[in-house]
């Protein structure tokens, strides 16, 4: 029997759009983005091991406006993936499958990730000012 005739799941276009779909694909996109963040963590640790001169170069790149913009993105991606990951773990134990609950928990994840990101960066700027 050929593999061509096997049934495949339908393409996404057949489903009516729900904004929770966006949350779902965002989990994957932030996951891939955080994998790039894993390279950043490696780079930062490497710079720390190499020495003060190289570390200050890395620190300068990261504190430039584009560096800070990227770090802001990584902060949000991390908190989003963390919050939505907990949402996934709740589903794994069988909690929150009702449509209303899934929508509400999605809103909670979105709001929580934005709040945690803002709080983190306000803490950084508060320390910088002090």
């Amino acid at each position: 029997m050929g593999t061509r005739s096997r049934p495949l799941s339908p393409h996404l276009q057949v489903y009516r759009f729900e904004w929770t779909m966006l949350l779902s694909i965002t989990h994957r996109i932030t996951g891939v983005g955080l994998a790039v963040g894993g390279v950043l963590l490696f780079w930062w640790l490497l710079a720390l091991a190499v020495g003060p001169a190289y570390f200050s170069v890395v620190q300068a790149i990261l504190s430039s406006w584009i560096g800070r913009l990227l770090l802001l993105g990584w902060t949000w991606a991390m908190f989003y993936h963390l919050c939505n990951g907990i949402r996934h773990l709740c589903w794994d134990i069988g909690w929150g499958f009702e449509i209303k609950t899934a929508r509400n928990s999605g809103l909670l994840v979105l709001a929580g990730s934005i709040l945690l990101t803002l709080a983190s960066w306000m803490a950084i700027y508060a320390m910088r000012g002090a």
Binding site: R28, V32, A35, G38, G85, L89, M127
Partner: protein, 125 residues
């Protein structure tokens, strides 16, 4: 009708001969990562304006070095499990899929070893 042998059914490993291991380990690593990521977020916020001396002193503290090694092991493991699924979903040609998968896996392992080595060098150096 079930065409599987009783032994295969009892083992429950399915067509990929791997059972639910991938799914399960992804969950286990995510449970471990939740507190570790909160710790690293807190640490990086406090280190944001630090120079090399302060950051090294932070990593030389045994508790930070140990947690960083735990984070590296868990994060890169979780990362390669997640990237594997993304590659399997979007790279269709078997040859390209195999090549992309092993490149990603080897790369992730090298990153993890490199990061751990850097931690040890700072901690013991």
């Amino acid at each position: 009708m079930n065409l599987r042998s009783p032994l295969a059914r009892a083992r429950g490993l399915g067509a990929a001969h791997n059972g639910t291991n991938h799914w399960w380990v992804q969950r286990l690593t995510s449970i471990a990562l939740a507190p570790l990521m909160l710790w690293i977020a807190y640490s990086f916020i406090s280190l944001a304006t630090s120079d090399h001396a302060a950051a090294s002193a932070w990593l030389r503290s045994p508790i930070n070095a140990i947690l960083m090694l735990a984070l590296i092991a868990t994060l890169f493991h979780h990362m390669q499990l997640g990237l594997q699924v993304v590659i399997e979903d979007y790279v269709h040609s078997p040859g390209r899929k195999f090549l992309t998968l092993i490149t990603m896996k080897f790369g992730t392992i090298l990153l993890a070893i490199g990061a751990a080595f850097a931690v040890l060098k700072v901690a013991f150096g």
